[in-house]
Subunit: 281 residues, 2 copies
């Protein structure tokens, strides 16, 4: 199997996109015509239509596991069927943010990579390198490590001062050296563009997964400018609610497609501006 | 519903125990006679026998979710059935170590507390206070926050120097103030008794969940001495493999009971020694 970053790069090139659509549906927010179904079936029907309508516009999809775990064991069937429904060639990131001791992470790796079939996952840095190795040792899969998250309280721990630098910056510098496979990325929220720029400066070539645009209020253009690498790549912009809930009627998938295309195009425009700026034009 | 700490204290008193048995079975390590069954059925049969054999000797049980997620959606059915099998009065801790933004943690709270029915959970501090509030706001449930874990790489991040103190100590001081409900505990590994003593010193009355005794090599007596509070309580000693795999034949549950009783009694002896030492006897 080719490396995750290569598969991601190929999908990104083919669909001319840095957009990653979050698949985080809540049953009570689904279109009216799906609400008669059992929750896990409604979510699966919703996801399938959403994927069919957007899969030529995205670089990746990202289901967050919480939304499926909340539906019980049946929700996990829906998660597995959702991953399987994504066309080959479009990577799927399991947003799980797991972090446990190595013996346990081995089991999480089995669950996420083998049982559910994710191409990449998110994980927490808190337990250190040995805890992450069961993920990092999977050379063909990617792992995005939490660095500076998008929530208001992100600063409580991740911005504590560690020898003159905030903790998140230490994570950005140190964690990508924890494996020789080029399969580590970082999670940095769009709600903090200054911090994002600092991360990009110390982790020049490291892929960044960027949640927080849209419903959470992050500025798309500022984030793309701060987050892309020298070639205008190395960034995945996550949008979930703005696409999933673009409208709530029978045309929801069509409207989701329109929303996804608009966001993709805005990202690409911001990308061109960013590359030009870096070239000093 | 009474608060988690009260339910835990009652189970601990009734069973004269600070022992928390980890329910983390791996199918290939189960007794031979169970291995003919589908993995998720074998695990459930194993858990039920183990619980029946030990439930009057423990203060709590602690299934780690990774071991069930690795078995697919059927594994989550096994997890739910396992929690239900534990007798009323014995709390069950869902070792999930979740950490995500608040919107997502709301869904994890639903999954862990409502769908699977845990009395308490474990969580990561990395995302800060607002991310934990959906857990902490559940006044009747407990949340143990990762502080200083038991794995060899725990120092990589958690011992970074934050203004003269290691990060884990800052977590121990700060996080328990994040809610006015007395429902926060800390996870501190038995493999680091010096760090455990420092945590206990700054978080005098905070419940500690202590993994790392047994298979991971932590010293039971030293950990109990360092970890109990002034009254000899406030500590749960987690043992999983030493009890689960006490033997591998038809008598596995009986042997697990013997192992659980021995460990419980060793903990209680160490507890008496610790109380006497603190009273200066």
């Amino acid at each position: 199997m080719t490396a995750y970053v290569e598969r991601l790069a190929q999908a990104s090139r083919e669909n001319e996109s840095l957009l990653c659509v979050g698949l985080d549906p809540e049953p009570h927010r689904l279109p009216q015509h799906l609400r008669g179904l059992p929750a896990h079936e409604a979510v699966l029907a919703f996801n399938k239509e959403l994927i069919d309508a957007t899969c030529d516009l995205v670089a990746a999809y990202k289901p967050n596991l919480a939304f499926y775990e909340a539906l019980g064991p049946e929700g996990m069937e829906t998660l597995r069927a959702t991953v399987r429904h994504v066309p080959n060639g479009v990577p799927v990131i399991g947003d799980a943010k797991r972090g446990d001791i190595d013996n346990t992470m081995r089991l999480y790796a089995t669950a996420l990579f083998d049982v559910y079939g994710f191409d990449a996952v998110t994980a927490s840095p808190y337990l250190g390198r040995d805890a992450l190795l069961p993920f990092l040792d999977r050379a063909d899969r990617g792992t995005y490590i939490l660095c500076r998250t998008s929530n208001p309280g992100a600063a409580d721990i991740a911005e504590l001062d560690v020898g003159g630098d905030p903790l998140y910056l230490r994570v950005a510098e140190r964690v990508p050296t924890w494996t020789s496979h080029a399969n580590i990325g970082l999670v940095v929220g769009a709600t903090a563009p200054t911090q994002l720029a600092r991360v990009r400066a110390v982790a020049a070539g490291v892929p960044i997964l960027l949640p927080g645009v849209g419903a959470q209020g992050g500025d798309l253009e500022a984030s793309v400018a701060a987050g892309v690498d020298q070639t205008g790549d190395g960034l995945l912009v996550v949008v979930a609610r703005q696409v999933m809930y673009a409208s709530s009627g029978l045309r929801f998938a069509e409207d989701a497609r329109t929303a996804a295309r608009e966001i993709r195009d805005r990202i690409n425009a911001a990308r061109v501006t960013a590359i030009d700026a870096r070239r000093g034009r």
